[in-house]
């Protein structure tokens, strides 16, 4: 067996190592960039030795949660986008499309609106997770066992519209203009002023979601040949759908809850990386997770470096880049198809 006869391993370990390395670089840059200037190495030493210097506090209380959440939320969005595109076999799908992001945003808005978020800070993230879970369960109830891709997309559209309407209703009825403003800002998405407890809440749920989605890689590869063929290759499609819906609800729900609605990462990143993995949906998952982390970390660094005050919201930046990208993508698909 010569090397030449082996199928070339497009998008194998070298690509994943490069993306993981780039994620680390982006993470370190995110730690180093901010409004408080300090010596990063010195701050790290202080933090490790337990010295409560200002620099160490800025590092552990401000920079670290922000960078870690950026990486985690970006990973969730990129991975969930790739997973949804693989499941729906549609390059335009992302967590927003199937209604999970919308449900998460609604859940968090309800927490705002009910005043729970004011009474208990963690009610906001919990509301987001609950909203994503409700959206995912509604999606599953609508699309059900054995339903086709079209049903799933229509169910996602329905849930998104309903969640959007309820969110607008909450804003509409809000008696307190400050609460409405707060909701508006939160919906724009940001990583600013997040703390380690946010990470502790979102982290474990995200990890479970990642594991569920990554374990679906072989099934997604098989699914690129259609549902009958995937089933004939030994994959249970109902279980695959359940696994991907639950996985994306956990990861995206937890992410949206702490960062607000950040769109387009799950759409753009898988699209850019797909050619590098030979268009294989299974290989795309992990690559897309790292790609999402890199994209969100750099977008968040840009938010802090841009000479715009108040700081641009992260969701605004990703939308400003992502929407024209989506436009171009649709235009190209229209001309090709």
């Amino acid at each position: 067996m010569t090397a030449a006869r082996r199928p070339a391993d497009a998008g194998g370990r070298p690509l994943l190592l490069a993306l993981a390395g780039l994620t680390l670089v982006a993470f370190l840059i995110s730690l180093a960039v901010g409004y408080v200037r300090f010596d990063l190495v010195g701050a790290l030493e202080d933090a490790i030795h337990g010295r409560d210097s200002l620099a160490a506090l800025a590092l552990t209380e401000l920079r670290l949660p922000r960078a870690a959440l950026g990486a985690a939320v970006g990973f969730s969005l990129g991975l969930a986008g790739a997973a949804m595109q693989g499941l729906l076999r549609n390059p335009l799908a992302d967590p927003g499309v199937v209604g999970v992001s919308g449900g998460a945003a609604l859940g968090a808005v309800v927490a705002f609106y009910s005043g729970l978020a004011a009474a208990l800070p963690l009610a906001l993230p919990l509301g987001g997770v609950a909203g994503a879970a409700v959206a995912a369960i509604a999606l599953y109830a609508l699309a059900g066992r054995g339903a086709g891709t079209m049903t799933l997309i229509l169910a996602g559209v329905t849930i998104n519209s309903f969640a959007g309407a309820l969110t607008a209703l909450a804003l509409n009825l809000s008696p307190n203009p400050y609460a409405a403003t707060e909701i508006m800002f939160w919906l724009m998405g940001s990583l600013a002023d997040r703390s380690l407890p946010h990470l502790y809440l979102a982290g474990p749920l995200s990890l479970i979601g990642w594991a569920l989605m990554l374990s679906a890689a072989p099934a997604l590869d098989a699914l690129s040949l259609g549902e009958d063929t995937a089933q004939s290759l030994g994959f249970d499609l109902a279980r695959l759908r359940a696994r991907l819906i639950a996985g994306s609800a956990l990861a995206v729900g937890a992410g949206v809850a702490v960062s607000g609605a950040i769109g387009f990462v799950g759409l753009v990143v898988p699209h850019l990386l797909r050619p590098l993995v030979g268009h294989r949906p299974g290989r795309l998952l992990l690559a897309s997770g790292f790609g999402g982390a890199i994209a969100l970390l750099f977008a968040d660094v840009a938010a802090r470096l841009l000479p715009v005050h108040p700081e641009l919201k992260l969701g605004v930046i990703t939308a400003l880049i992502g929407a024209p990208f989506l436009f171009g993508l649709i235009d190209r698909m229209r001309r090709e198809g």
């Binding site: 890689a217 072989p218 030994g234 797909r274």
Partner: protein, 264 residues
Amino acid sequence: MRVVVSQAVVRFGERKALDGVDCAVGGGEMVALVGPNGAGKTTLLRALADLQPLQAGEARYDGRRARELPRGEFARRVAYLAQGGEAHWPLRVDHLVALGRLPHRRPFADLSAADRAAVEAALAATDVAHLRARTLDRLSGGERARVLLARALAVEAEILLADEPAAALDPLHQLAAMAVLRDVARRGAGVVVVLHDLTLAVRFCDRVVALAGGKAIADGPPAALTDAVIAAAYGVEALRGEHRGEPFLVPWRAIGAGREGAGG
């Protein structure tokens, strides 16, 4: 493995796609499934593959139901090639064919030597080895059909169910694909192939099952495809003959058109 579908009934709304059909295939046997459009050929093939829920009747695999076999084992033993095969992403040819090895692989493990040998054999058998590094969107329809057939061959299953594997192929590759399938049967697997080409069916298959209106109207050696069966199924007359000891059958003209011709 012996697959037996008995008294299968499948309804799509009012229409009965299958209306009490019996069909069986065993190792070493090549069976053609023929019949006009909408006769229930694909539905029966999907029933044989345990992809089609039956409203009545059942499918048995060596006497057992599919759900009594572990999912992975079933996938290794029964391969299915869908009609007009689709691939939703422009995968590379060798990557696509390797998907046929998924039932044999532990998740996330690399291709084993046996996997690679099966992929190579399948690429060679369907004459697409030279296209291995191309992506699917750079192939013609016929080349794509051969690649998808290679994917099904790569499973190396005991039962191979193929839905119109020859439909998009040029004459050379039609003959080659049928020879490959017959070779698979000669080496011990059971092969069921949906065909529109009666000439290929009669020449290459050991047994022909003719469907019409959801019922099996003939099941036997190629000779079972009598003029009466062909007339009932397709409404055509066939031309028959023999060339070097092999029978051939060519659909010749519509029965109605023949009468008009006689009158004029």
